[in-house]
Amino acid sequence: MPATYGLIDGNSFYCSAERAFAPGLRRVPLIVLSNNDGCAIARSAEAKALGVRMGDPWHLIRHRPGMDSVHWQSSNYPLYADMSRRFYQVVAGMVPRVEPYSIDEFFLDLDLPGDLHALCTALRAEVLRVAKIPTCLGWGPTKTIAKLANHLAKRHPELGGLCDLRSPELRAAWYARLSVGEVWGIGGRTAEKLRRLGVGTIADFVALDARDARDLLTVVGARVQLELRGVSCLPLAMMAAPRQGAAVTRSFGRPVTRWAEMREAVAAFAHRAAEKLRAEGLVAGHLTVFLHTNPHNGDPWHSGQRAARIEPTADSGALIGEALRLLRSLWQPGYRYAKAGVMLNDLRPEAGQPRMLFPTRDPVRSARVMAAMDAVNARHSAGTLRPLATGLARPWAARAARLSPRYTTRLEEILVARAW
């Protein structure tokens, strides 16, 4: 196991990705809203200073004093994914072993010769220059300590974006000042439980008897404690674990009241979930469909969910058929539905599936049709070819009123520069 782990994290990543191509947004308080232009999911430093919190619903806070200076954008996931790819490539070009932990966080094996401080400074500068993303970087003897160091680098600008927690003395000084709730893996409820037992700071938690820690917080808590003591328990995972399930769930842009629209939406979700399976060479043996209203709108609560075992497949047509069969049994007219979804489970590799004695589909033909559709969508753009059942106009699609261009993935939308 490496002796030093690092964590590099994009600052306000979605906002930074927007600002990379829109210099006019660099000086204004900026937030990015969730699907359907709902809640703040990324906030620039200026927006945080104005009091916008993570998850704040924009329609509720927009009238507060000071909010008229805040600029919002719809979330542009194709752009964020491509900027994450660039960020990762820059990091992987300078550090041999990198774990992509989230869209904007990479764990690093920093067991490298030379001056670590100089390397980390250069890494941040290169990510900013090439991938246009400002970052913070923290490091220490375990992943949990690296995560904490990163958090400190982010919260204390005077650290210059870097925080080295390799020294036990330095760690002890921070541990005494920080609440145990700041630790990766210790949630709000756990922190509250610990606080009631007189365990308020990280130092208090680290000082707990290991058996008490295990009794209170199970093996997970015991592992967090060991990691905070500098004993590494979590190795670097260079690749994501195999997918357990594929879910596509969406809030609608406006309430769906008609069967035809609901049918289209659920067909589209099933098709998208099937695409996820095929991208990884998997098939699903279990399918769930759900829908519900939104009582926060004043609508009566109504929800339904049905699941079924299915003949293992990744065929869009077959999965749409199964999903619509379940949906039909769930559908109750007269409600204003706000959300629906399709979940695929019992995933397994497509290769090595036992031959069914009486298959209801021709698996070879299905695989060929799906491969051809996926190839067209990869060469052109996602959604170029799709089953007609998924709808053409898609009036139920999520609202995204202020979507920035897909600057790096669509030729029609690339950055425009005026010749001077």
Partner: protein
Amino acid sequence: MASNSGKGGADYDGGRTTGFASPAGDAIEGPIDLGEVLDLRRPHRYPVRVLGDALRERGIHPGDILIADAAAPPADGRVCIAMVHGDVWVCQIAYKRGQWWLRPASGAREPLPVVAEDDIEVWAVVAALVRTEV
């Protein structure tokens, strides 16, 4: 049964034939990949569309696609993408009197010193150009 229909012929590459074995079967190279030539999969390469014809004398026309390289160091006389007071420009860059300047194509304008505090930044250096209509 393998079939070449319905995919615009995309699955025949000059190699696998049904009657006479292709003499070129071991020599398939595939079409030229311009994404590869232009290095578009690298993290520092960004496509940029040109607006306006101020750089026509430099051979850069409106509608051209520039491949900007964010890792290339600026050099005197190169064309660059610059972020200037909230706008995105493509212009020439010059090194004079110990600092970098954005040099206007027209003599009617004054060069601008590249100073971050004045909200002027060189974002990337133009490395290649694609013109899809000639």
